[in-house]
Subunit: 341 residues, 2 copies
DNA sequence: CTGTTAGCGCCTTCAA
DNA sequence: TTGAAGGCGCTAACAG
């Protein structure tokens, strides 16, 4: 049988209370006594039963998830996953509160984080905006000892404990390689369609993409980035325009939202003239387009994985436990029509 | 506060013991009493605290993992992951016993499963061999109520509760599409390198690959499957031979082990004559080759994910709890040199 | 500084 | 068929 607090109390010749004080690093124990207990712990190889401890403490974990109030497919899916996680969590003495903030609004995010700082929950996860004010409040939260996970979009060189999201530079590179290989050697022009170059993840995807183009595909000329603001209608308009101005577009990297607009344009292009398309985010629209052969590859980040990972990490941090790095690494999923889930 | 057994005992006007009997479906309760209790449970929305229950029962989960005693990179990695999982599990009242069996030996596997049947642990995970004897003992285990997960290789139409592994037909199709696209339209010959066509996952990969070739790439001629028995030396020999017999090989799908042998041959091929190569399993060797550009894409199944998933599923089954399907789906990871972990 | 005692939420004898 | 009481491993008052 695994040793319990009773065993080490007996072995060290002290009472349960003293063992507990040592275990939890509470004051009021003479150094001699403390070391007696510590020796017993080491000798018996005692590890405390977290479940029993939590039961005794009636401990409940309280986490806050701050999500942008944004209505594209990805954010909707992310929200759904957080809600699902929160429902499951309630069975396990874990309460997840969801806070919505206006999107792309650093001040709103800061305000939400300030409330968190006042609340002092056991952890907070949020979709970061890379702005000085945000970094500042993040530093404060860190000092206050609130475990912090950035979700989907990171805060560089910050005081967050963990980032649950993909490497966007690598994603851009991956898209570049796929497009380059699929176009194999043809002299051609390639369009890049982003949401907004003000958003860090989009910038990084473009950066990675352009790097690969420059390194490996001199035959491809990349047109100026089109910003569609993740908005189908605007995307449709701008892409149509691009096709008129540059009839020879042979490849498209769509790294933001609004793919429905893109697809409306593509469906009008004669089959033999269709460009190779690599897009982001597996949604009903992109999935269908992949099946039809209108999109050639979809890069995806698994929102469910990101949320579950964030919860696991917050719990581990709250307990001072180690994280299984490999489990928490968010993959850049590549989907062809053949490996759709 | 969430309701506890006390609350429902009071609300139903019975004792704790009776509530417990109803909760655990034990006999010795009059139907009237039972329904009183059930009403209270429903009315208060009671859900039992599994952690507390397990503590009271001093419950420990006992799982058995049966792994082939096989020494390629993948199986070594798998074993490592099971060991790691077993170490973590010991903290959580979960004991994982690892049993090694000679590989490709249905009888040995059956013998191991028979011991499991005698033992009746709370769950068993094993790398299946698709043979009638195995299906038979699996059916018996199922009848005996032992939760069962197949790992890496499945048992079709069987009585397993869950399969923790990839869809190998889809993997073959994915490889086919990548190779087809990377070779874009060239008239060429393609070699397929398998371990053994006696193993189900290899057969399925070939099947998926050939299907895509037939459907979408009439320009590519697929040479007869080379069986390298997952053995570097043999692979090297047979691939060398293939290159002599068919100098024009422009693509290779390596779906089994022994990639080191393949790489030795490829490194001798003049750069301009190098074939497009899609291989399976991310190992030190394939990772390096991906970086060098000798391999173009690697398909991978994450052994760590498979093992953690198997443990989670076994625990859920043992507790009669639902499984989060999306979490347990094992992806076909596609790695280019740009998205290596 | 240290020990005693009473729980946390649930399960399990043992009596009635 | 039902209930009372004690315990799982740990924590937290409250006394000494």
């Amino acid at each position: 049988m695994k040793p319990t607090v009773h065993d080490i109390a007996r072995s060290a010749g002290v009472s349960l209370a003293t063992v507990d004080r040592v275990l939890n690093g509470r004051p009021g124990v003479r150094a001699v006594t403390r070391s007696k207990v510590e020796e017993a712990i080491a000798a018996l190889g005692f590890v405390r039963d977290l479940a029993a401890a939590n039961l005794a403490k009636s401990r409940t974990y309280s986490f806050v998830f701050i999500l942008p109030d944004y209505d594209n497919s990805f954010m909707k899916g992310l929200r759904r996953e957080v809600v699902a996680a929160s429902e499951r969590a309630s069975t396990e003495r874990t309460e997840i509160r969801i806070v919505a903030v206006p999107h792309f609004d650093p001040h709103a995010l800061v305000a939400a984080l300030e409330e968190v700082l006042a609340d002092k929950p056991n952890g907070v996860a949020f979709v970061a905006i890379d702005a000085p004010e945000v970094r500042e409040i993040a530093a404060k939260l860190n000092e206050a000892g609130v475990p912090m996970v950035t979700l989907v979009s990171d805060l560089p060189a910050s005081s967050r404990d963990h980032y649950a999201g993909i490497d966007n530079i690598a994603a851009g590179r991956t898209a570049g390689s796929l497009l380059g290989r699929f176009l194999s050697g043809r002299e051609a022009q390639v369009a890049v369609l982003a949401g907004s170059m003000l958003v860090r993840d989009h910038r990084e995807r473009v950066e990675g993409f352009l790097a690969v183009m420059a390194e490996a595909y001199p035959n491809l000329r990349v047109l100026p980035v089109i910003e569609g603001r993740d908005d189908s209608a605007l995307v449709e308009e701008k892409v149509s325009e691009a096709f008129e101005v540059t009839p020879g577009i042979a490849g498209i990297y769509s790294l933001g939202g609004g793919n429905r607009g893109l697809l409306r344009v593509l469906r009008k292009v004669p089959v033999e003239a269709r460009p190779v398309v690599v897009a982001h985010d597996l949604t009903d629209a992109t999935r269908a387009a992949l099946g039809e052969g209108i999109i050639d590859a979809v890069l995806n980040q698994d929102a469910g994985h990101e949320v579950r990972s964030a919860v696991r990490v917050l719990k581990a941090k709250a307990d001072g436990l180690p994280v299984i790095e490999a489990q928490e690494r968010i993959r850049i999923d590549i989907f062809l029509k053949d490996n759709l889930p």
